[in-house]
Subunit: 334 residues, 2 copies
DNA sequence: TTGTATGCGTTATCAC
DNA sequence: GTGATAACGCATACAA
């Protein structure tokens, strides 16, 4: 069964394709009568506009691409939902690609999206990508670019990031106020704006409180569960009694080590994580963590795309974080 | 900066677009020399094939659509990764849509994908969809359809499902062998093949063990965390000492109620879940659950699409489940 | 092996 | 307000 085209409708109605096209596109220069007639016939014949042909002719698509490291992270899947909530009503579809944190996958995703003529891209780059090289291609091709969460600042793009500095500051302050004395930091690699900012916030909180900053207890590997487990051992060796972790999976590893070694959390050791993954509230004790407002970031990123697309406005948005206080860092003050 | 087309390349080389098209498409009827020349020029000019034009001309795209209830479920995001692992090397892109368990969103996703001329769709329908009505449109439009996990059997499509019957059978048997005496079932709505099968497996395990089946302790609401919490209270009223839950979130609710009411798991009460969500191993006690092999399901679904697309082969695949034994149903035998 | 001609379905620019 | 015509970029049947 061949799909019905505007020509089919035109033929059935004894008019020309142009008129049908205009009517279906909502063009004003067509009489109410014929418009109604056409619309009825169209739905009667089960007509669906061929987006391929339409976009080819118009020179642009109503599709936006999104590239994230992985979709099974609470943060990214919520960003996606947030972006959809804005883009779909605006008539755009979202294509989602995963980079799996690999530069090569990211490069392929970019090429795919460009070939698909997307109107824009919302991207949070992979950890393997340490330069804006691949993304420059996007800009060069004239595709609207919005970076979120992890960004490069040497690109002509709108950006949406968390206020990682202030968030980390609050998280660390929370540990200080709970009475911990030697607070370490478990961060990610120092190429990324995200982890650089969180580390800065951590350091500022310590200095503001008149506490010494010791590079020995700033761990900068990566924020996996394994690393959390491993670095908790090292942190204890160095005499820490608390850790601000730049990720919940790392905090999870920390808590696992603590349980295995019968270290009481929060009594003997305090932990604050980042991201509010779905398991954070389920741990025992429940994990105090920094909420990232993923949905808002998705919405803002989508809105930033629309602003660039239709008004040529470039924006740099900062979304605040919120400390979710639970049990892992709430001991009695001494 | 206009994008380079095959005509641009042809012009630059003093040949015709057809030859360029053939060379770039890997057509054999073009000399090695000109092919090399064309390829070099193409990459030199930064040529990227316009998929819109190509697909419009060919009459089909290299895009596959996937519709899932939500992407932030471990199961579905792993299905997606599995499908990508097969489809990308085969030259297909995947567009992911969420139905949010709503019929209307699902319908819109289907329309979107059809308008985008996808070559096929991999779908697990929303819970609100209780009939194959919307999906019939897919088949009618000549789009290859693969259903997975949740399926309707009155459609011309390939299917990939878990062996929910056997899985539930094993899960229930595990509870029986652990010595629990009055084992209830917390299932989903009975319109869905998934929950019907799990319930059947549960019942069969009981009868095979010579135990009575009591409709009073078969709860069939839905498998949310709330319902788990709520129905745990009812299960206790009815004298249950164990529950096989058709979902981990429901099992989570069950365990929360138990903790709030100081009921020892697994000592006084046994729980087995389904899905192996990422939090299952992190609960205290850790949750014994049925693993769904999501990645395999994704791979199989993608392969089923390729088989239909290129060989016209319709397949109905059943993927086995695996019981992950942890602590929530392992008490000492009496 | 290469060139010529045509059309995929739609929209935009004319003219009427 | 409607119709005729061309063009978006590419791929293919046919001719050479």
């Amino acid at each position: 069964m061949a799909k019905t085209t505007i020509s089919d409708i035109a033929k059935a109605l004894g008019i020309t394709p142009s008129t049908v096209s205009r009517a279906l596109a909502g063009n004003s220069r067509v009489s109410e009568a014929t418009r109604m007639m056409i619309e009825r016939k169209a739905s009667e014949m089960g007509y669906e506009r061929n987006l391929l042909a339409s976009s080819l002719r118009k020179g642009f698509t109503d599709t936006v691409g999104m590239i994230v490291p992985r979709i099974n992270r609470q943060f990214f899947s919520n960003v996606i939902s947030g972006a959809e909530a804005i883009l779909n009503p605006a008539g755009f579809n979202l294509i989602i690609c995963q980079s799996h944190e690999r530069r090569e996958d990211e490069r392929r995703a970019i090429a795919t999206l460009i070939r698909n003529q997307v109107a824009g891209m919302l991207v949070s780059h992979s950890l393997e990508s340490t330069s804006s090289e691949s993304l420059r291609e996007v800009v060069d091709q004239g595709v609207v670019l919005v970076q979120f969460d992890r960004i490069f600042d040497d690109l002509e793009s709108s950006t949406v990031v968390n206020d990682n500095f202030s968030g980390a500051y609050e998280a660390t302050k929370h540990l200080i106020e709970a009475g911990y004395h030697r607070i370490g930091h478990l961060g990610g690699d120092d190429q990324s704006n995200v982890y650089i900012e969180r580390r800065r916030g951590y350091i500022k909180a310590l200095t503001d409180a008149g506490m010494a900053v010791d590079e020995d207890i700033i761990f900068g590997d990566s924020i996996t569960r394994d690393k959390g487990f491993y670095n908790m051992a090292k942190a204890l060796d160095k005499g820490c009694d608390a850790l601000y972790c730049a990720g919940d999976y790392a905090a999870l590893g920390v808590m696992e080590y603590a349980r295995h070694n019968h270290i009481d959390i929060p009594g003997q050791f305090g932990v604050v994580g980042t991201a509010n993954e779905n398991f954070a509230e389920l741990l025992v004790p429940s994990l105090t963590t920094l909420e990232q407002n993923a949905t808002e970031i998705g919405q803002r990123a989508a809105q930033a795309f629309l602003d660039m697309r239709f008004n040529g406005v470039v924006s740099n948005i900062v979304v605040s974080m919120k400390l979710i206080v639970r049990d892992s860092a709430s001991r009695q003050h001494k």
